[in-house]
Amino acid sequence: MTKTNPKGFAKNQIPLYLYLIPLAIFMAAPIVFIIFHAFKPMDELFMFPPRFLVYRPTMENFNALFRVAAGATVPVSRYVFNSVVVTLAVVFSTVVTASMAGFALSKMHFRGKIALFTINNLALMFVPVALQIPRYMTVAAIGIENTYFAHILPIVATPVIVFLIKQFMDQVPDSLIEAATVDGAGAWRIYLGIMIPMVRPALATGAILSFQMVWNNIETSALFTTSESIRTLPFYMSTLAAAGGIAGQGMAAAASLIMFVPNLLLFIVMQSRVMNTMAHSGLK
């Protein structure tokens, strides 16, 4: 019989491990490979036959990455600065706007509520990459090309984050809100004082999903900006990767690692909150 979440190890788990472990290795190997590759000195990058492991780890690739950047028109610190500003702005705005919308959709009565939620569910299917042209035209029409707003505004509205926060808010008992209303609390006090503290796991999940989207985003730099000084770190990394060559490989691996580590750390810290949120992710 299927026994979920057992307390410890049992013999009947052995068959599961027999295929889960190889699969986990296949999934993680390319990432481990990137880590090793980023620390390989030049002669190990050129080595034949190529090796998976690094023997004499060095920081050469990282140094080269920053040297190349220093020779370019824009120092790498500028890309880092742009990325940090844009990421903070997007994550903050996304969590605020999505939790406000989620609160209204979950706990307030108004005309068109069901229709709005249905439209949002439909928009879960939105694939930005399929609509690059009209998205570019919209950004150009508003006149925010080559500004930070071009990185921020187009990716703040994320239907899946609103959906997850709304579903989580549905779990907050209405009686709590009624009691606060009797005590004279207004909508804002209920939102800030009751909802926000109670749905922290969902907010954390929204923040991490939004972080992944913006931190890795190349599209906004490639489509909505033309000036190097306003572009972000992942875009710069992508130009390095495209430059190719074996030396380029080492630098690109170093760059990929720099992009990957914050993602991983954030997810590890937040994983229990993410799983808690996912328990309420049902779509009907």
Binding site: Y17, H37, L131, N276, M278, S281, G282
Partner: protein, 292 residues
């Protein structure tokens, strides 16, 4: 339920951005798809001509892009979804410590960027003896000359599919893992009294029926993920169109016509067809996992 206050004030910031950057672009794409537009002169209305041309004149679309998209999306969409469910179901039967570590390993490819995916898999499939797969095959005597995997029409599509599946364990996978773990254990006991014997029967009669809403959410996420992943071919081969159009998908076709040839009207028609296909997949999932 809170009855007073101003719901529209709470909704406004999200709805405005949603409208401007999601609804308007869809509307523009639909509008432009009926025009001839080169991004410089005013769009000219041409009716259904772009759609007619797409399905009758565009040989690259008919011979490569459409079949590629169908193969790719069938394998990576439903295939990736089934794989994610199978892994989630298996992981749910482990104790918490090992389960968390393994789930993290499975999920980790979703944390990488498109660029990183390109970097690592390009090195593995590099066409000279320095490529890791070539080195392995040469070393063990399977081949005598290195294969140029990423320029060879036979290999590009399977490689793109493997890489897309590799990165397919995303949010949907996490949702399903949470879903399987939340199935009430008493249901399995009840089912075994009712004569359900094998694990496979349990999956179909107990597990899936009790987590249909999560299955649907994960299905939608898999579909979106599969179509988002359409850029992998270009990332790996560093060229659009991909060599011999071997991994050319609709997403790449849109970019090719929109940003390389500046035939924006035609590209928009391809976008609209793509949105239609995504909607079709998602409507099918809704039918399958309708919670009744």
């Amino acid at each position: 339920m809170y009855r007073k206050g101003s719901p529209y004030l709470f909704l406004a910031p999200y709805l405005i951005l949603f409208f401007v950057f999601i609804v308007v672009p869809v509307a523009i794409a639909v509008g432009l798809s009926f025009t001839n537009f080169d991004a410089i002169q005013r769009p000219q209305f041409v009716g259904l001509l772009n759609y007619v041309n797409l399905f009758t004149q565009d040989l690259i679309f008919l011979q490569h892009v459409l079949p590629n998209t169908i193969i790719f999306s069938m394998i990576v969409g439903p295939g990736g979804f089934a794989l994610a469910f199978f892994v989630a179901w298996s992981l749910s039967q482990l104790s918490k410590g090992p389960r968390t570590v393994m789930a993290l390993l499975m999920f980790s490819p979703s944390l990488t960027t498109g660029v990183a995916i390109g970097v690592v898999w390009r090195i593995i499939f590099l066409g000279n003896p320095q490529g890791h797969l070539n080195a392995f095959l040469l070393n063990w005597g399977f081949i005598t000359d290195p294969i140029n995997f990423l320029a060879n029409a036979t290999f590009i599509m399977p490689i793109v599919i493997v890489v897309a599946l590799w990165s397919s364990m995303g949010v949907g996978f996490l949702a399903m893992l949470a879903g399987v773990l939340n199935v009430n254990p008493e249901l399995y006991e009840a089912a075994s009294i009712d004569g359900v014997k094998s694990r496979l029967q349990e999956v179909f009669y107990v597990t899936i029926p009790s987590m249909k809403p999560q299955m649907l959410f994960a299905a939608v996420m898999s579909i979106v993920g599969a179509f988002q992943a359409g850029t992998i071919g270009v990332v790996l081969t560093l060229s659009n169109p991909t060599p011999h159009y071997a991994a050319q998908l609709m997403v790449n076709h849109i970019e090719d016509y929109g940003f390389i040839r500046f035939e924006m009207g035609f590209a928009s028609a391809v976008s609209v067809v793509l949105l239609g296909i995504i909607y079709g997949f998602s409507a099918t999932s809704r039918k399958l996992f309708k919670d009744d």
